[in-house]
């Protein structure tokens, strides 16, 4: 899970697409991080406005509610790419080779079905809040200062579409691994074996000025 799996790469088309998509996913994830940061700044403005200037920030809650989907959705594909969404790997952890890739292929396919349907569902949620003929195109707005809700509602199908792309790549990767019977295929998160971990560690150069984490990037390109 979060970080403990490695994604290998090589010169194949699959791997090149994987890395291309990964840089997009990283940007989206950073947007999510910046939204958290802005949440913090917003609170500081709201609190000091209310306590020191007697001018509460209008629509504080509305703005928070607008920022939350950014935080919750934008990094969803990035986390999937690195195998960061939690799962129980007691069973699959024991599988090897083709059996493992078959299991991964099936669960990935199940996720694709879910996400494809959810793109439909979340897009219809957006559509109900959107009206080309209304002021600000809004057919649903926030309670306090009437911010249009459609942009925030649109974030879900957008983020899920990127996730769908990612899942299709992984399905391709697992399918390819199943056919070739490869031990360590590219473009899919691998459950690390002890030996690989030892190697990864040996390659690692640790330490940096402000006791930065040793493991922020675990890419073995």
């Amino acid at each position: 899970m979060a970080g403990s799996s490695t994604v290998l790469s090589d010169d194949t088309l699959l791997s090149r697409i994987d890395r291309r998509l990964y840089s997009l996913e990283q940007v989206l994830s950073l947007v999510s991080g910046l939204a958290v940061f802005s949440l913090m700044i917003l609170a500081v403005i709201s609190v000091s406005g209310r306590n020191f200037f007697n001018v509460p920030l209008p629509g504080y809650v509305d703005w928070i509610e607008q920022a939350m989907p950014l935080i919750a959705f934008m990094g969803v594909a990035y986390t999937q790419r690195d195998g960061g969404h939690i799962r129980m790997d007691i069973l699959v952890g024991r599988l090897k080779g083709r059996a493992l890739w078959a299991a991964e292929f099936i669960t990935t396919l199940a996720m694709i079905v879910l996400i494809a349907l959810l793109i439909w569902g979340t897009f219809s949620h957006f559509q109900r809040a959107f009206d080309f003929n209304a002021p600000l195109w809004s057919r649903d707005s926030s309670m306090d200062i009437a911010l249009p809700l459609w942009p925030a509602k649109l974030l879900a199908p957008v983020a899920f579409s990127v996730l769908l792309l990612r899942l299709c790549l992984q399905l391709w990767g697992y399918g390819r691994a199943f056919l070739s019977g490869a031990e360590s295929p590219v473009a899919v998160p691998l459950i690390q074996s002890a030996a690989e971990q030892a190697q990864a560690e040996a390659e690692h150069v640790s330490g940096s000025p402000v006791d930065a984490p040793e493991d922020t990037q675990k890419e073995t390109h």
């Binding site: 209310r50 509460p56 109900r128 707005s141 309670m143 009437a146």
Partner: protein, 311 residues
């Protein structure tokens, strides 16, 4: 036939007409047609109209002020100082407006048909800190007030914020809000009287409008006898609701204030008149302007409401 009904919170005075309706309908059809009421299990309260439009459930309650863009036509009933005096009058006014073609068309966008109102009395404030003895004392005060009530409070210099009822207690406890506007039943069920120390008896700036709607397709698919059983029960359910509200809630309100030692603040008639003068006209004018821009016959609706009230 079994209908799912989406309400929220828990069973309270505000939901008694739906409970009564379910009872009556089942009785009249010998259990052939039942209403299965869920408190919050089927949808978020601000998305009940979405659920109706999808067809996820057949009946729901919501408040117009939760989402003014979804139902602009009925927000006219939330304008401040309309001059509604009683629950009976609020009920008659709402039921009349719900028949207005522009309103029917507005709700039809959600595949919804308005069934009945949930009449609420005029809102008033419960607050913490020093009681505002005159309207001038509201200057700079943070108050929880939605829709037209918020507009009214802004008219006396208060700083209104809309927040959903469930967040109010925390906001009051933490000093984020100094006062909260609610109907009495909500002041009791959301605990504002636990923290507050004053109550305005006669500010009466307005109320909120919370209709019960049904999915239009589902209504049409009912057998004639089922539809008859449903529609003929509405008036009885509303009678029961109003009786319940007046008898149980309003009679518990005075003693509750006494028990908590809450100071009653009453403003002079001249002050209230001046307040109304300052707020009512401009807010209504602004409402007409905004909603005309949305393509609504706003002036018509306002005239209709004022005409009904003059009757």
């Amino acid at each position: 036939t079994e209908w799912s009904v989406s309400l929220w919170g828990k069973r309270r005075a505000f939901t008694e007409h739906v409970e009564k309706l379910a009872e009556l309908v089942s009785e009249k059809t010998n259990g052939e047609f039942t209403l299965n009421i869920s408190y919050g299990g089927l949808s978020k309260n601000t998305e009940n109209l979405d659920g109706i439009s999808i067809g996820a459930f057949e009946m729901a309650q919501f408040c117009a002020g939760y989402h003014r863009d979804k139902n602009p036509s009925i927000t006219v009933l939330e304008l401040p100082f309309l001059g509604v005096q009683s629950l009976e009058q609020e009920r008659a006014l709402s039921q009349a407006l719900y028949q207005h073609p522009a309103v029917v068309e507005d709700l039809a966008r959600w595949n919804a048909t308005l069934l009945m109102p949930s009449p609420l009395p005029q809102y008033n404030l419960v607050g913490v800190g020093d009681a505002p003895k005159t309207l001038a004392d509201f200057e700079g005060m943070t108050v929880r007030a939605t829709g037209g009530i918020g507009d009214a409070m802004a008219g006396v210099g208060a700083v209104p914020t809309s927040m959903s009822a469930t967040e109010v207690r925390q906001a009051l406890d933490s000093g984020v809000m100094k006062a909260v506007s609610f109907a009495p039943h909500a002041h009791m069920s959301f605990g504002t009287i636990e923290t507050g120390n004053w109550w305005t008896t006669n500010l009466n700036p307005g109320t909120v409008n919370c209709p019960v709607v049904v999915n239009t397709d589902a209504l049409e698919m009912l057998s004639d006898s089922e539809r008859e059983a449903l529609l003929s029960s509405v008036d009885e359910a509303l009678d029961y609701y109003i009786e319940f509200y007046n008898d149980k809630t309003m009679s518990a309100w005075g003693p509750a204030l006494d028990e908590k030692g809450i100071e009653r603040v009453t403003y002079s008639d001249e002050e209230i008149a001046a307040f109304k003068e300052k707020v009512a006209g401009p807010t209504a004018a602004k409402w007409v302007e905004d909603n005309t821009a949305k393509g609504l016959p706003a002036q018509d609706l306002l005239d209709f409401v004022q005409g009904e009230l003059a009757k």
